[in-house]
Symmetry: C2
Subunit: 230 residues, 2 copies
Amino acid sequence: MPQTSSAQPGTGPKPAVRADHPGVTELFALLAYGEVAAFYRLTEEARMAPNLAGRISMASMAAAEMRHYELLRDALAERNVDVVPAMTKYASALENYHRLTTPSTWLEALVKTYIGDALAADFYLEIADVLPEEAAGVVRSVLSETGHSQFVVAEVRAAVTASDRQRHRLALWSRRLLGEAITQAQYVMADHDELVDLVISSGDGLLQMSEFFDRLQRTHASRMQELGLA
Amino acid sequence: MPQTSSAQPGTGPKPAVRADHPGVTELFALLAYGEVAAFYRLTEEARMAPNLAGRISMASMAAAEMRHYELLRDALAERNVDVVPAMTKYASALENYHRLTTPSTWLEALVKTYIGDALAADFYLEIADVLPEEAAGVVRSVLSETGHSQFVVAEVRAAVTASDRQRHRLALWSRRLLGEAITQAQYVMADHDELVDLVISSGDGLLQMSEFFDRLQRTHASRMQELGLA
């Protein structure tokens, strides 16, 4: 998973929210649905893999999502929250994102995996900054570097180096992924005040919401460069 | 995963085959393809799950298969064998097994998961007895108890207790799974002398081949009892 930089220069350490902030439970539930949805999408998109090695790489990434899901399920259980009912309310936003970004080629599937993982990591790590230490640890380990997506970088770079047409096409695709992700993130925020409150706590107030989305766009641009799409 | 008893009363410890027995590499390659095939079958069969909890249970089991695959890949790498080309020769037997046993209901999918895992465990643990210690350790950890399939027992028992028709139907299904598994195992053996040699080494000679399959049938019968199908 690519590097993310959520710390802002000149800003001191921010105060953590209370451990029982209801947004923490909601964040875990949202992440949990995200992991299961990603698992099933990866396995479905793996059908486009040109060979067994590609299918295996997708399966390994999918398996990592389930390990993360299990961490979140356990963290919710410690808060006396049953994961399945808690996560269900996030189903529509996440399923909509995946439905609106169904890849039509193997390269699109690879780019989606990479960009999608990275965007999710940015989003959650921004929030992790203000979580109580234990909750921040859960989020960070769920989003920890798995190294799986390095095979994506190699394959995409090779394809776009060989073809300008592919580069333009995948650059557009990558922008569409960002747009849909931000749209769905905004829907989720609009429906869940507890999450908005967490994001606001991570900065200096409401103004931070637009800066938050600006930062997502900037880190997205650096990912496009890594993939050779900039 | 259910208990297996491969030790025979009255037989002392059997001599291990040499660590570089070519059958060991073949066994790992066969297991590796089996794990990846099981991963994709479980995720496909999960579509029949009546709810999110069922889909999650299937996804967790599938993720466990990939962890096992990774162990085998690493064990093959230590033997300087590249997993993907090595496993490909076992594709047809394993894909045929899955194609010929495609479940048509969620309960059939659950029974297949349980019986299939258990049969695979019997088969491989029989062989593990004669493997050099390190190789036996790989096989045993790949087939180690995951606890995931306990949800299968509860759900199947509840269904067959409530309906005699379901019990008869699933009992037939379970026998079909055994039959197809044995057929495909025999095809694999017929094509791979190195594996036959491993199985023969696990007993007192060629006579053991039919006893080997007899034992598979006996342990299968105990599984049917666990599921309430006997």
